[in-house]
């Protein structure tokens, strides 16, 4: 069973699960073996990984507004006094 070789199509079909570490051990082994031999798929996998990481990196730039934490603390402190605040 472990000798089954993945085609490019088989590998690409598993690209997302590979990047998200959701493959079974056998699938992972087969994908990794394919990537070692296939430069074209290896390039595509690398590109997709960089897209995911790049999007996460960009979104990490969203920062908490300076006073939001204080607003929430105040809201919770006054909860009970002002049930209709929201």
């Amino acid at each position: 069973m472990l000798l089954t070789f993945y085609s490019c199509r088989d590998a690409i079909k598993r690209l997302d699960d590979f990047l998200d570490r959701e493959l079974t051990e056998t699938e992972l082994f087969r994908v990794e073996r394919h990537l070692k031999l296939c430069h074209s798929c290896s390039k595509k996998f690398k590109f997709e990984q960089e897209i995911v990481q790049g999007i996460r990196k960009k979104l990490a730039q969203v920062t908490l507004p300076a006073d939001l934490q204080n607003k929430i603390a105040f809201l919770l402190e006054t909860d009970g006094e002002n049930k209709d605040i929201i």
């Binding site: 959701e22 590109f47 960089e50 960009k58 939001l68 607003k71 402190e77």
Partner: protein, 201 residues
């Protein structure tokens, strides 16, 4: 801080404070507006505080809080009677950005085309792309791109099966790539990158 009926306010703060930035980022994806995101985080925090007694200690507080935030966004959505966004994004092919970057010649030179395209886009472009996804895909993608999150955790937050997370994420990622590409084209980012790439040649 007032005492939550059965929970401790200090315990609540200790749990929620480190999650406020991620909560705000998630709220921003869900509302597409900084002001609405602030309102949503405040509403979710208050709801979570009032219901803290129902939180089971030892379980995933982040998943519990995000579930409240997502549900609050649904009710805020209803309250505002906002028209649902209709984004007629037909199915996108696999490797959309990869194929289009290559077609545009962005793989020339030493630069990495993924970095080139994303590096030229603002965070608002990325949020705009996530916002353009149909609701079901938008939610899953917003949680997925917020940080490295296992499919199971996304399933727990949205209270849907893992298989549904997987299929929505797979299609959502493709649609997102298409949307990102279109935004980059509309903002002349691709044209500028093509010019730069030609100049390097």
């Amino acid at each position: 801080m007032a005492k939550s009926p059965e929970g401790s306010a200090q315990e609540f703060s200790a749990l929620i404070d480190p999650l406020l930035t991620k909560s705000y980022a998630l709220a921003y994806h869900l509302t597409s507006s900084r002001e609405a995101a602030e309102d949503l985080v405040q509403e979710a925090a208050l709801l979570a505080f009032r219901n803290f007694s129902s939180f089971q200690r030892g379980t995933n507080f982040k998943a519990w809080l995000f579930r409240i935030l997502v549900n609050a966004s649904h009710s805020q959505h209803r309250k505002n009677l906002r028209e649902p966004k209709v984004t007629p994004l037909e199915d996108a092919e696999d490797l959309y950005l990869y194929n289009h970057s290559l077609e545009a010649g962005l793989d020339r030179g030493s630069s990495n085309p993924a970095e080139l395209v994303l590096g030229s886009m603002d965070v608002e472009h990325i949020i705009q792309a996530i916002e353009s996804l149909p609701d079901d895909y938008r939610l899953v993608c917003a949680l997925y791109f917020l940080e490295e999150t296992a499919y199971q955790e996304i399933a727990d937050i949205l209270e849907i099966p893992v298989g549904t997370v997987r299929s929505r994420l797979h299609r959502g990622r493709k649609l997102l790539q298409k949307s990102l590409w279109n935004i980059a084209v509309d903002n002349n980012i691709i044209a500028a990158l093509k010019d730069e790439s030609e100049a390097v040649k």
